[in-house]
Amino acid sequence: MENEKNTSEVAVSVRNVRKSFGAAVVLEDINFDVSEGEILVFLGASGSGKTTILRIVAGLEIPDSGSVELHGKDVTSLPARERGTGVIFQSYALFPKMNVEHNIGYGLKIRRRKKAEVKTTVDDLIELVGLGEHRKKYPSQLSGGQQQRVAIARALAYKPEVLLFDEPFGALDAQIRTHLRREIRNLLKKIKVPSIFITHDQEEALELGDRIAILNQGRLEQIGTPYEIYNKPETEHVAKFLGSANILSGRAAGDEITIGNISLAPKEPHGLRDGQAIKLVFRPEDVFLRRPENLTQNYQKLAEGTIEEVSFAGAFERVAVRLDVSDATIMVVRPKTETAAFPLHAGQHVTAGLVRFRVLKDTSA
């Protein structure tokens, strides 16, 4: 699943981690790396185990088996306080009885650094996160976004091996969320500290992550760049979780695949046995609808079908088409250029063509 990386670039390395709470297995067979300066985002539904991964890296939980390495050092048996990670909790966990300056300086204070050093570091960080006016304020006097910045500055003060963000945008308003997301990403790229985020929000994952890891019920289904995950999902869950997907069942036939009486030829060899059950996965925006006679060679013909419903969604048009073959209904998204050139309405008979698609082994068969 992982590309080989130059060892000196690897900041975090997690191997074969497994964790159960009582009888429930929360994580299984977890393997991943985070490179220097990289932002890795764990995306999954609640209960998928993503918080547990974060806590295991931080040292707040001990895995049943497996290892954690930070910059080449095995920290699996080290307690949290000896690992040097910086955690930004969901609630930020700022110390309520300390003001901004003292919160930020805490990490250095307990390492008994000299006052002058602490002051310079704190000053620099306050400037970095832009909280100069608020330095004497207490957490209760700060807004959510400001508190988050303090939490980040606090974690950075002692030069952590990695930053761990636990759903940091959950408590914020939608508008602030987008704005902050970009700010944080810019900041992280500037200071080049490797970071791990966990979230259930796909948009967040896509925007923040250099790479995304999809978690499903304690297992890592796929790790890759946003482009890879989106356009080349390796499992049905990944395909459905990020963006919307149309999924049709079929069979492998030699180099091609068949759905009912339709044949399609994938661009890359699918490597599956003849007759093996497969799932055909394609995104709504990768389907083009034409009157049967207008289909060109750019796309492969999928099937004929009847339009069930057309809905206007602002920047695009959503069309539900019931295919003749297999009686399945697929969702299609058409941009303005399409709707202008080829207007369609419910009840019309059309041909659906695919620009791209993925063939996945059907694991449920």
Binding site: A58, L60, A80, R81, G86, V87, A93, K97, K109, I110
Partner: protein, 278 residues
């Protein structure tokens, strides 16, 4: 009459219930609490300020007050520190017998103070279960100031604990986890993160314990030996004066204790507000 009342009720902003309930509250408090306290003041000064002052400055009285303050002080120090420690351990760790321990810690308040004093005598007295081995070594625990401190510790045992523990329970775990991930040892986390959040509860607990210890009587009279100017606390002194028939002198010291407690509780409320505010 009723027409007037209902007319008043319709006047905007007039709420009959508020002045009525406040008056009712004060009226109930009058015979139960306010008048008895007032009568202490009246009776204590009834022979004039001269004898009031003489009663206050009697060497036995001054000794008794000092002894009460000092023994209560040390009992408070111990119970606050232990209460803090016990609240920490009991809210952090789960173990077999945990709930039983919590109940046991709270028991001393249910035990009549005389029984508590008697139990201490049976244990530590010169003929007591353990005391009889200490006596030949020259270690006298009962009938000394230490006995008073021990009795005070027993009787006020759960007070500070009871005030501090709920604060632990409502404290969020993530603060301590944050401190740990930032590199702090358990002690550093306790000192810099946990303790400051407990300041208000510690002060409350300390003053509650202290005020209760100063007024303790039932156990003290048994374990102290009531030796004037040696082991006689203020409440014991008041009782002795009463038994001798010197009721005004008894009341004079009682006035001191009441005023002292009033001051303590006023400070308590002020300090707690100030501490919680930050």
């Amino acid at each position: 009459m009723s027409t007037n009342l209902s007319n008043i009720r319709h006047v905007r902003g007039f709420d009959l219930v508020k002045p009525l309930s406040i008056t009712a509250m004060v009226v109930v408090m009058l015979p139960l609490v306010l008048l008895p306290m007032a009568s202490i003041f009246i009776f204590g000064t009834s022979s004039g300020l001269g004898s009031f002052w003489a009663a206050l400055t009697a060497p036995e009285a001054i000794f008794a007050l000092k002894l009460s303050i000092v023994t209560s002080f040390w009992a408070t120090v111990f119970n606050v520190i232990f209460g803090l420690f016990a609240a920490y351990v009991l809210s952090k760790y789960n173990f077999w017998g945990r709930n039983a321990l919590i109940v046991i810690i709270s028991l001393p308040t249910a035990i009549p103070t005389a029984v508590a004093g008697f139990a201490l005598l049976l244990l530590w007295g010169p003929y007591g279960i353990l005391g009889r081995y200490l006596e030949p070594q020259g270690i006298h625990i009962m009938f000394t100031a230490s006995a008073i401190i021990l009795a005070n510790i027993f009787v006020t045992f759960p007070l500070a604990f009871g005030v501090i523990k709920p604060v632990f329970e409502t404290m969020s775990n993530s603060l301590e986890e944050a401190s740990a991930t930032m590199g702090a040892t358990r002690w550093q986390t306790f000192w810099h993160v946990t303790l400051p959040s407990l300041r208000g509860a510690i002060v409350s607990g300390a003053l509650l314990t202290f005020a209760r210890a100063v007024g303790e009587f039932g156990s003290t009279i048994l374990v102290s030996g009531n030796l004037a100017q040696r082991t006689q606390t203020a409440p014991l002194y008041i009782f002795a004066k009463f038994n001798e028939g010197q009721v005004e002198a008894a009341n004079a010291i009682a006035i001191v204790l009441v005023v002292f407690s009033f001051l303590i509780f006023s400070i308590l409320f002020l300090a707690r507000d100030w501490l919680e505010a930050e």
